[in-house]
Amino acid sequence: MHALHLFALKLNRSLAKLHGMLLALGMLSLLAAAVVLTYSVFARYFFKLTTDWQDEAAVFCLVGTTFLCAGQVQMLRGHIGIEAIKGLLPVRLEQARYFLIDLTALVFCSFFAWKSWTLCHEAWAENYTTSSSWGPPLWIPYALMAMGVSVLALQLLAQTLMFGGVVPSKDHPK
């Protein structure tokens, strides 16, 4: 149990560093999406240029930001839920509830990550592109989704192992 707890703590620390890098990437990507869409307006009205790639480029940036930063949001327990029964259960049952919540989320995200990699591989192998005139390859956003959900699943694994281990209840998110 102690070894499991140590592993979870190490994993959590390593993931915190990774989240920091992904957050920085997400910030740049968010800014890039805003700039690309602004350019789109100016290009169309002032320079009379066609705007065929801007929307899709912004979508790729924003999908990337959303998925790549999902693990960091999970680390901060930023995904909201209904806490109607919070505090009503005895401490041990409350810990068990948190463990089950994290485990369910872990199973769901692991399945989602697996299917995302399958989809990404298929898009790469079959050379899928979007249906627009620009037609960028679809493996790009699929890969961002797969990487992001995989990191999210790892974060959930670390959190599941910590709550299921010997972490004192004071470490519980309030």
Binding site: M27, A58, I82
Partner: protein, 444 residues
């Protein structure tokens, strides 16, 4: 197994998952996945990620992170305090002017930032201490800011409206315009109540109470406030002109608004260094990722409901009840109120739209008008317990005000909002008048 039976099990499983405390996004995704496994062909599980991606990769939906960025940029600058200070100076002489200043500042800030909690926090952190210093009761000071903050989801650009437009397949431009009339109505009602309350509190004030003193500002002081506020008002108008003048699509408007907001805070407040901008980007990412996950999973959830004919069966069942149209509307709005006790507006819209919109359409209701009503009803959910997000934001910025006082303080505003719902139900043109005037009558 009939669609009704599957629907009942589906509903029970969803309630169990959500009330266990599982984050909403995971709860919706896990229930959808479970029912796909048991009741849908195996191939459905193979396309689950593609479905989520295709739903999320909508350029309209992805304007949400950019509108949040625009709001965060304004919310994390001193714009809120400056806006409040300007309103205070300009309305100081009106009886109850401080309360009115708070309402107007909330409305303008909400329209710029598009976020209720951000509005509460930005205006409340300056407005509540000032109102208390001037002798107003803490409950009223908290209530007016909590209620004013709710305007963020009604006035354009409202994220709630964007989701409703996607879920109901209605014009986003029309919906944004339809929120303006009811928004002005609510501002007028809140401001009138502020005047009424000021008179009441003043009549009970003892000698020496700050409520009895009148504050005056010189014309110079008034004009000195303008340079810090006008750029943001120009931003507000500029974004609306870009959208309705046909210069930009809603997503381009979101991008343009975000860039302009970041540029303005850099120029007006000198917030251009990475250490100034990175907290804005980080908070945007946190909020938008949480929202986008709920949206993606809600859409997967709705897809499963539709595939298993659950939403169609429930909608058909409601139609077959042959309720009078007003009874149907009241029942649906009550359902929205009940859901508002536990769920954020985002989930309410995406989970209920496939069920409640077909019967409303069959009953002949205008879905743009209903979207406005639904939004105001959901706004009340932001200021009534147990969720009442704005109540907790206020508690955070004014921790010495008792929760009981805040809840009593918001109660009159909840009643005013429900009164506004009745008025808009009786006079739909309050909502539909402006879009019909500017964009013509909708094609049916």
């Amino acid at each position: 197994m009939s669609a009704t039976t599957i629907g009942l099990i589906f509903g029970a499983a969803t309630l169990m998952a959500m009330f266990s405390g599982l984050p909403i996004a995971y709860a919706l995704g896990a229930v959808a996945l479970l029912f796909m496994y048991f009741f849908m062909p195996a191939s459905a599980l193979d396309t689950v990620t593609q479905n989520v991606y295709e739903e999320m990769a909508s350029v309209t939906l992805l304007s949400i992170p950019l509108f949040i960025l625009k709001g965060a940029a304004i919310g994390k600058s001193r714009a809120g305090q400056d806006l409040y200070a300007a309103m205070h100076v300009w309305m100081g002489r009106i009886p109850g002017g401080l309360g009115i200043a708070n309402v107007f500042a909330c409305a303008l800030f909400a329209a710029m930032a598009g976020s209720s909690p951000a509005t509460c926090s930005a205006i409340g952190s300056a407005g509540i201490p000032e109102m208390r210093k001037r002798g107003y009761s803490p409950g009223f000071a908290a209530g007016i800011i909590a209620a004013g903050g709710t305007l963020g989801i009604l006035l354009p650009p409202s994220i709630t409206m964007i989701l409703y437009a996607v879920a109901s397949e209605q014009s986003l431009g029309r919906l944004f315009l339809a929120g303006i009339g009811p928004g002005i109505l609510l501002v007028a009602m809140f401001a009138s109540y502020a005047v009424f309350r000021y008179r009441k509190e003043r009549s009970c004030a003892s000698a020496g109470s700050p409520l009895l003193s009148i504050e005056t500002f010189s014309v110079r002081e008034k004009f000195e406030m303008l340079p810090r506020v006008l750029p943001f008002v120009i931003l507000l108008i500029g974004v609306m002109v870009a959208l309705y003048g046909g210069y930009a699509t809603p997503s381009e408007t979101a991008g343009l608004g975000a860039v302009l907001a970041l540029t303005l805070i850099a120029v007006v407040y000198g917030m251009w260094r990475p250490r100034d901008v990175s907290p804005i980007l980080a908070s945007t990412i946190k909020e938008s990722t949480m929202l986008m996950f709920i949206i993606g999973m809600s859409l997967l959830f709705s897809y499963v409901m539709s595939y298993l004919h659950i939403s169609q069966a429930v909608a058909q069942g409601i139609v077959e009840l042959q309720l009078s149209r007003w009874f149907l509307l009241a029942a649906i709005l009550l359902l929205v109120v009940a859901l508002g006790f536990f769920l954020p507006p985002v989930s309410i819209i995406l989970m209920t739209a496939p069920i409640i919109l077909p019967p409303l359409k069959a009953a002949g209701f205008d879905l743009i008008w209903f979207g406005v009503l639904m939004t105001i009803v959901m706004e009340t959910g932001l200021i009534h317990p147990p969720v009442g997000l704005n109540i907790f934001v206020i508690k955070n910025i004014a921790p010495d005000i008792m929760l009981k006082d805040i809840i009593w303080g918001v109660l009159p505003f909840v009643i005013l909002m429900l009164l506004a719902v009745v008025l808009i139900a009786l006079m739909p043109s309050i909502a539909t008048g402006l879009p019909n005037l500017l964009m013509g009558l909708p094609t049916r």
